[in-house]
């Protein structure tokens, strides 16, 4: 775009001329420039200069007056510039006011100035305005003078403007008025000029098409001066179309130059049109206009020797339009092109990318270059035109050139012949380095495409650009770009394109002397899947045709190089590629490397787990896609356990790989053949063993080829073998690395080496179930049978069998406080070893359900034991896990540990079930009103009478399968609770701990009485101390050291109430047949009220009785009524006394004694008792059954 002259690139600006009063010119012209629309000023100090300005009106366009068939050119080169800088549209004459008001000489001078101005501008139709500049101390200008001035100047009143530069307040306004007046005059001038020329077109008597083009152009330019863009566009298009018509018609100039002129003109017209379209935002129209333009001129190649001119022109079209598009898209950013399908021919969105035009500009420029080269080669012989070439200059007409002939002062322009012109153009073309230009264009396109993520297009541009760099010898730039685009082609599998790029890269590294790169690129090329001829035969880059033969050539070349074959010396290209004797070349092939095609290593262990010390098989498979068979000299297999590494040497090559002394002790295998055929797996199977447990993984396989090259392939598992990127697309048979069909799917490059079998026994000796509350001991015994135990650790875990956990925070049982139902309390060391000693230097960590202790060193054959102390708070089965981890070697470095695991389920049972119940003394029954009530409400809370002695019987049942010993049973009252009752019983300790066999019940009787007037009685907690019976050891165990288990049970609170009535019977403990006795029934009234009692006594067959059967008695308050009967027993044995029943009227309560209290034993005759009264104190504790 920059090659166009300034006047073409910017819209024209009105030009006005100022004459006189030079001191004001700066002020006015500055203001005019900032005015809207701006006005350029042409300042002339005084009137005499006007003549100089317009004196070159020598050629007033002779064609306009007398149309002649021969027009020398379409339009003049400087016409536009002239109108923009030299031909003002109007003339403003500035006169100081004192010239008007002063002496007549000045007035006369003014008048003569006006006359000369008028004379100058008359023929040119230039507008005229008079500006009167008011002086500092000037007198008022009379009206007459003004009219005289107007008449003299022949202008309208409004074109005589008074400007007072000293009136600063109004200066701006008056300057604006001046500007608008000037604008008005200028518009009028350009309109008139435009109309004048338009009339010439419309008259149709212009018989030269060139003139029509010229007139249209002028009209358009005048319209542009007026900012009438629509008309400008219309006439530019008109000119353009008219010009296109004369292409085949005109014969004015020699053919080549004719075409050049037309193209130059059309280029300018097109530029104007595109600019106008783009500025008005009509991007789609501009694009389609461009396409039309391009298509119209594309075929106008011209004479063969001038073809390059055509391509250059085409290239420029694309470049300029691309630049225009880019600038306009910068201005109107974001407005994406829409309405693609508006025109009849669908447009591609691609035509909206400036990069597209740059790319094509580069393409045409390269066409131009090759055409130019052809022309140069043809015209090389003729040099006689050199003198002509030097004198060629652009002629006055646009797009034309002429020969400048200087003969002394006489300068003459001679027309050129086509040969001369071509010569000139060729010499001009030689001056430019097209490739730099092409690179710049491609780079623009490349970057532009890349920035919008159009990668393939940008790759293509990059490819062309890199090719130019390559041709220019800029290897580093070329290589960089080639590398970038090669990765895209690799990814998408465009083998032919990749082949070509790699060919360039190979040459780049050859030129750079980068031998490693050269080998890598060559190997990759040789391994590419270009088996069949892809049709790319000619016009290939340095890669050569993409076919199998070429692959083989590349293959041979690179292997000759690395094997150090002497064939290099003959090839002068490879002079800078040499491998010195001690230089080695290692290529790394990882999972993403393109060299995976060259060599791929798959390694599979035949077993997924192995024992240490035992051997397993390992298969190493190699695959290569190189076209020819490769002979490998040696393989090195590397593992993560470096002592497993081994070598495989080629049996066919005798000691070609020297194993250095340092690694002599490594294992070396010899394979019969290590030749790697194309696309065929080389499978090698060896056994391998390790002593170290853990993971054994094959890391890499290094293949040594020749004395210099080694290829290090990362080992891959067959199970996760990624398919080769490019070859999978080929229609060839897929082979598998291992023949074993299972290993193909599951084979891994790593195996797990198990740990050694433990040679230590772990015993958990538990015989009986655990009892809740006791400290349960679980003996753990370690017996070493073959291994020494070093740095042993014993881990203990308690796990709920049901999986519910040993922990229940929501439980509000009394022992929920310590939150664990089963707890590991501690671990006691082996017998004879003190606990504290164990603590001091060994790890010992005990938590509620987890324990960790260290085990001392146990020599082979020794044993060690300890006891786990576990306490159950709840009956619950648990699983006990004990695991021993140890190292069989004392060596600290060898960190392999061996593990032994044992587990055992242990049930926890409740040992003792406690029960209790209350009794009144024998044959004494109180009336408890609440009890009667409760009977209906089925509430089980106990009630006791107040002020009475009650009996509490506590029973403890052994529910285990073991005999237990009891130590004591007592009722403890909480310390803080108020003592509300008195509890009496015998001594707490049971002197000789009784044995409680399974299922047996132990009972103890307490007497409870309360005389406090409260309704609730809290009795306290029942405490029972017991332990397991030790059986035969019982005797020897000292009672003091034995730990007793304390089982507690809180007794529920009981209600206490005052009974209104108490009935008690008195009767002898036994009777004798025929011996009378008295049976008393006492009814005691505890209330302050009179109690009416109805009672009855039934007959009994076994007795004869005397007394009332039925009666009603009144018992006085706080007194007692006694009923007495005399009874004579008739029958021996246990007999029921006569049935007594009574009713309290007040309480509507009936009473009948229970059967047990109502019976008595009758002896047939008076019994004789031995006076053997038991001496022990066990009267109160009765062992039942």
């Amino acid at each position: 775009m920059e090659e166009y002259p300034e006047e073409l690139r910017t819209p024209p600006v009105t030009l006005a001329s100022l004459v006189g009063c030079p001191e004001l010119h700066t002020l006015i012209s500055t203001h005019f420039l900032t005015a809207q629309p701006p006005i350029n000023t042409l300042a002339l100090p005084d009137v005499s200069k006007i003549i100089h300005l317009f004196n070159n009106k020598t050629d007033p366009d002779p064609t306009a007056t007398s149309p002649s068939p021969i027009v020398p050119g379409i339009f003049k080169r400087d016409w536009l510039l002239k109108h923009r800088t030299k031909f003002p549209s109007l003339l403003g004459a500035l006169f100081p006011s004192h010239h008007l008001t002063g002496d007549p000489a000045q007035w006369l001078q003014l008048c003569s100035d006006l006359d000369s101005i008028k004379a100058v501008i008359r023929g040119r139709n230039i507008k005229f305005a008079v500006v009167v500049v008011v002086d500092n101390n000037a007198a008022e200008i009379s009206e007459d003078r003004m009219i005289a001035l107007r008449k003299r100047a022949e202008v309208d009143a409004k074109y005589v403007i008074v400007l007072d530069p000293n009136d600063t307040a109004n200066l701006k306004v008056s300057l604006q008025r001046l500007a608008s007046t000037f604008t008005e005059l200028a518009l009028a001038y350009y309109r008139e000029e435009g109309r004048r020329i338009k009339q010439r077109i419309e008259k149709k008597n212009v018989n030269s098409v060139e003139l029509i083009v010229r007139y249209c152009f002028k009209v358009a330019v005048y319209a542009e001066f007026r900012s009438d863009w629509t008309e400008a566009l219309k006439f530019y298009e008109e000119a353009y179309h008219t010009l296109r018509e004369i292409v085949g018609v005109t014969t004015r100039l020699p053919a080549v130059q004719r075409l050049v002129e037309i193209k130059t003109i059309s280029e300018h017209l097109h530029f104007k049109i595109s600019t106008l379209l783009l500025h008005s935002g009509k991007v789609a129209e501009a694009v389609s206009w461009f396409r039309q333009h391009k298509n119209a001129y594309k075929r106008l190649v011209g004479a063969p020797e001038g073809v390059f001119l055509h391509w250059e022109w085409m290239s420029r079209q694309f470049l300029v339009f691309g630049e225009l598009l880019e600038t306009s898209s910068k201005i109107t950013q974001g407005s994406s092109p829409i309405g693609l399908s508006t025109s009849s021919k669908p447009m591609s969105e691609w035509e909206y990318y400036p990069a597209y035009y740059y790319q094509l500009a580069a393409h045409y420029l390269s066409e131009k270059r090759s055409a130019l080269e052809l022309t140069i080669s043809m015209s090389e012989t003729s040099n006689e035109n050199d003198s002509v070439v030097e004198s060629v200059v652009p002629s006055v007409y646009m797009g034309q050139f002429a020969r400048l002939l200087e003969e002394g002062d006489n300068v003459d322009m001679l027309p050129l012949s086509d040969e001369e012109y071509i010569c000139y153009a060729v010499s001009e073309g030689k001056r430019f380095r097209d490739s730099l230009e092409i690179i710049a264009l491609l780079k623009k396109a490349y970057e532009s495409y890349s920035s919008v993520k159009i990668l393939r297009m940008s790759s293509f541009c990059g490819f062309q650009m890199a090719r130019e760099y390559f041709a220019e010898g800029d290897i580093s730039n070329a290589k960089q770009v080639f590398d970038t685009i090669a990765s895209l082609y690799r990814k998408e599998g465009w083998v032919t394109l990749l082949w070509d790029v790699l060919g360039y890269l190979r040459e780049c590294s050859r030129k750079n002397g980068a031998i490693k790169d050269f080998v890598e690129y060559s190997l990759e090329m040789a391994a590419l899947p270009v088996s069949s001829d892809t049709g790319v035969q000619r016009d290939t880059g340095p890669a050569g045709p993409a076919n199998l033969l070429q692959r083989e050539i590349v293959h041979n070349e690179v292997f000759e190089l690395v094997s150090g074959a002497s064939g290099l010396a003959t090839n002068e290209h490879q002079s800078n590629l040499k491998i010195s004797r001690d230089e080695s070349l290692q290529l790394e092939v990882d999972l993403v490397s393109p060299l995976r095609l060259v060599m791929l290593a798959s390694v599979a262990f035949h077993e997924q787990t192995i024992k240490p010390g035992t051997s397993t098989l390992i298969t190493v498979s190699l695959l290569s896609h190189l076209p020819l068979t490769v002979e490998i000299d040696g393989l090195e297999i590397q593992f993560n356990q470096s002592n497993c590494n081994f070598f495989i040497t080629n049996g066919q090559k005798s000691r070609s790989v020297e194993v250095s002394d340092g690694i002599q002790h490594r294992r070396t295998e010899t394979a019969t053949s290590l030749s790697l055929e194309s696309n065929k797996w080389l499978r090698l199977t060896y056994d391998i063993q390790t002593d170290q447990s853990g993971k054994l993984e094959c890391l890499s396989v290094i293949a040594k080829i020749g004395s210099h090259l080694s290829i290090c392939c990362r080992a891959e598992s067959p199970a996760s073998l990624d398919s080769l990127p490019l070859w999978t697309l080929e229609d060839c048979v897929q082979t598998v690395p291992i023949k074993d069909p299972i290993l193909v799917l599951s084979g891994l490059k790593s195996t797990q080496v198990e740990e050694q079998d433990p040679q230590v026994d772990l015993h958990l000796g538990v015989s009986s179930p655990a009892l809740v509350g006791e400290v349960f001991l679980v003996p753990v015994t370690l017996v070493s049978k073959g291994h020494d135990v070093y740095s042993g650790e014993l881990k203990i875990n308690l796990v709920d069998v049901k999986g519910g956990g040993l922990f229940s925070p929501r439980d509000n049982e009394p022992y929920a406080l310590d939150s664990h139902h089963v707890q590991l309390i501690g671990i006691s060391g082996p017998e004879g070893e003190d606990d504290s000693h164990l603590d001091s230097d060994k790890i010992k960590k005990i938590q509620q359900s987890f324990g960790l202790i260290s085990v001392p060193i146990i020599k082979n054959g020794d044993s060690w034991s300890c006891k786990l102390e576990i306490k159950w708070h709840r009956p619950k089965p648990i699983m006990l896990y004990v695991s021993l981890g140890y190292s069989p070697y004392s060596n600290e470095l060898n960190i392999q540990t061996v593990h032994v695991h044992k587990n055992l389920q242990i049930e926890g049972h409740n040992a003792i079930v406690l029960n209790h119940h209350y009794l009144m003394p024998f044959r004494r029954d109180p009336l408890l009103l609440s009890k009667n009530k409760q009977a209906s409400e089925s509430n089980h809370s106990e009630s006791l009478p107040l002020n009475q002695k009650n009996v509490l019987i506590v029973s403890a049942k052994n529910c285990t399968e073991l005999p237990l010993r009891l130590k004591s049973m007592c009722i403890e009252v909480e310390d803080d609770a108020e003592r509300t009752c008195s509890i009496q019983h015998g001594s707490e300790e049971l002197a000789n701990p009784p044995l409680l066999v399974p299922g047996e019940v132990f009972k103890k009787v307490f007497s409870v009485s309360s005389n406090m007037n409260i309704s609730k009685l809290s009795l306290g907690t029942l405490c029972l101390k017991w332990r397991r019976d030790l059986g035969i050891e019982e005797q020897c165990a000292s009672t003091s050291t034995l730990s007793w288990v304390l089982t507690k049970k809180k007794l529920p609170d009981v209600n206490v109430e005052l009974p209104p009535l108490i009935v008690s019977f008195e009767c002898p403990p036994y009777a004798v047949v025929g011996d009378p006795f008295t049976y008393y029934i006492r009814i005691s009234n505890q209330t302050q009220l009179l109690q009416e009692i109805k009672y009855s006594l039934g007959d009994a067959q076994s007795f004869v009785l005397s007394g009332y059967h039925n009666d009603t008695v009144y018992v006085l308050p706080k007194s007692e009524h006694i009923l007495s009967y005399k009874l004579v027993p008739l029958v021996s044995g246990i007999q029921q006394l006569p049935k007594f029943s009574m009713t309290s009227v007040r309480y509507s309560a009936a009473y009948q004694p229970s059967n047990s209290s109502n019976s008595v034993f009758i002896f047939p005759s008076k019994p004789i008792f031995k006076a053997a009264i038991s001496t022990n104190s066990r009267l109160e504790s009765v062992v039942n059954e």
Binding site: S348, T534, G535, D539
Partner: protein
């Protein structure tokens, strides 16, 4: 005249590419086909731009370059067909017709039980059929 036809797979990898030109620009045609994938991508990813061509297999003119015009076609299995022609004035109907026949040939080729999907098409029958279709391109505007 058709100078190049191509079948391009899911990963934008070439499955079949054949040029029908005597000139030396086979490699260039490969480049052009490869570049046209950008246009296909853009069409597919910004369907709103192409407006009425939504849901249509025929993608129309992809882009004009130098002396070529590139047309595209996208099957329902996302396999792309690319056509490069030197004709400046091509009827859309002709191209559509071409692609229809080409598609049929492609379907027959991949229906071969010995063809592995996703691999390059090496069938000789397919190649012959394609060259027949290509040869008949200019002349058979009727059918």
């Amino acid at each position: 005249m058709i100078v190049c036809v191509a079948v391009v797979g899911h990963q934008n990898n070439p499955l079949y590419i054949q040029s029908f030109t005597e000139a030396d620009d086979a490699l260039k045609l490969h480049h052009i086909v490869h570049c046209s994938l950008d246009v296909v991508d853009e069409r597919v990813n910004n369907p709103k731009r192409s407006g009425p061509m939504l849901n249509e297999t025929f993608l129309g003119l992809l882009y004009p370059i130098e002396n070529f015009k590139v047309y595209g076609y996208l099957t329902n299995t996302k396999v792309k067909f690319i056509l490069v022609t030197t004709d400046l004035d091509v009827k859309d109907a002709d191209v559509r017709n071409f692609f229809r026949r080409f598609h049929a040939a492609y379907v027959d080729a991949v229906s071969n039980p010995f063809h592995v999907p996703g691999k390059k098409i090496t069938s000789r029958t397919f190649a012959e059929r394609v060259s027949t279709i290509v040869k008949s391109f200019g002349f058979s505007s009727a059918g």
